[in-house]
Amino acid sequence: MTSLSEPFIGQVPVRVRRFDVATRVVHWANATLFLVLLSSGLVLSFGPLSVLVGRRETVKDVHVWAGLLLPLPVVVGAAGRWGRGLRSDFGRLNRWLADDRRWFRTLGRDRSVRLGKFHPGQKLNAAFTAGAIPVMLLTGSIMRWPRSFDLSWRTGATFVHDWVATVLVFAIVGHIVKAVSDPVALRGMVGGDVDGAWAAHHHPRWHDDMPSD
């Protein structure tokens, strides 16, 4: 097995395209909106921060607008011709291969597992985030326009919104920690390309399926 620490003697590292432009634009637009939502949400819900920042009405407006805008990058990015790469990635994230389950069962200890373009943890994170967005939109709307809803629904919506947000914080922090701890993976989302050796090591099934030129 190729190890990443082995130097590529007399060999120019091969670079492979991991994420196209549309996918990266959608990712960073999402990341920005999520950051705005998390920070404004924290100001609204965490007493000491609310006290420090004040201006509850303004913070609330920022939070609501960022929330309403959140689905936009994904919808626009996945539509049309430019969305082919993103749509195919959605397909890959959706499908859990036998090896993904094996990875979860052994928590990565089974060395014979051959992963595709996405790690099972990424698939879980993607599914959770994709589910969280409509749930947050629904419960957030009930909280924002409470007069149209039953009172117990308002309490229930607040409850769901708060707890999903708490789990989202952990999911996003985990996502950032993992990305920062693997600079090659991060480069894939910044510049679009990764080293061939990295792809072969971490995502062999994806690497081997790529057409070689």
Binding site: G54, R95, A126, G131, L138, T139, T155, T158, V160
Partner: protein, 254 residues
Amino acid sequence: MDDTGPATPAEAEVVDPGAPVGRRIVLGMLGLGVGGVLVGARLSDALSRLLAPITAADRTGLSDLLPAGGGFRIYTVTGSLPSADEASYRLTVGGLVDRPASLSVADLRAMPATSLTKDFQCVTGWRVHQVPWVGVRLADVLDRAGVQAGGARGTRATAVRFTSFDGSYTESLTMEQARRPDVMVAYSMQGGPISRAHGGPVRLYVAPMYGYKSCKWLSGIEVTDRVQEGYWERRGYDVDAWIGTSNGRDDEPV
């Protein structure tokens, strides 16, 4: 991939697209989300009851980060948090009284103290269980100032109006409500002075009514001839804010 080669197990897996687990998770979360909206009110209450002893013992304040950490949510109607120094704080008592007064925190502490340990219920749904309050009964403050018995024509002392030094907030109670034993001018909560965020140094605590009646940053008590709508009441909330029987809510009374 080589089309002509024999099908190896690895190739068979490549052909297998895998189960759409991602979609199942998304749909499952939507179901849970909707279910949570429907039953979350009850769950939320049960959870905050469960966590109440933990958050009460937590002095770091970190448990406030948990959504069900019990805990108060701090609402202010003005831009920044009002602040008053305990030494210079004064509570004015006026209106239809014989002896208008300006009371310091020390004056209030010198009066007979009353303590209550009761829930704080917000009209938006959250409830903090078993909050210990210490203060002076509002009835005692009114008696000290001497509510005018008869008064001139049309000026019968039938209500009490409260103002806040945030400059905007007002509240009112009928005289009968104001004289209840579970209505107090509080200067201590949860075993310590009332913090700035909680409406300190002195706030009103109207136990049997929703939180918006418990005027924070209390600066004035005025005996009047009629109940005037308060800040939230001009924005649609009920004037008689009994917990459980007003504002279309059915919370357990306090």
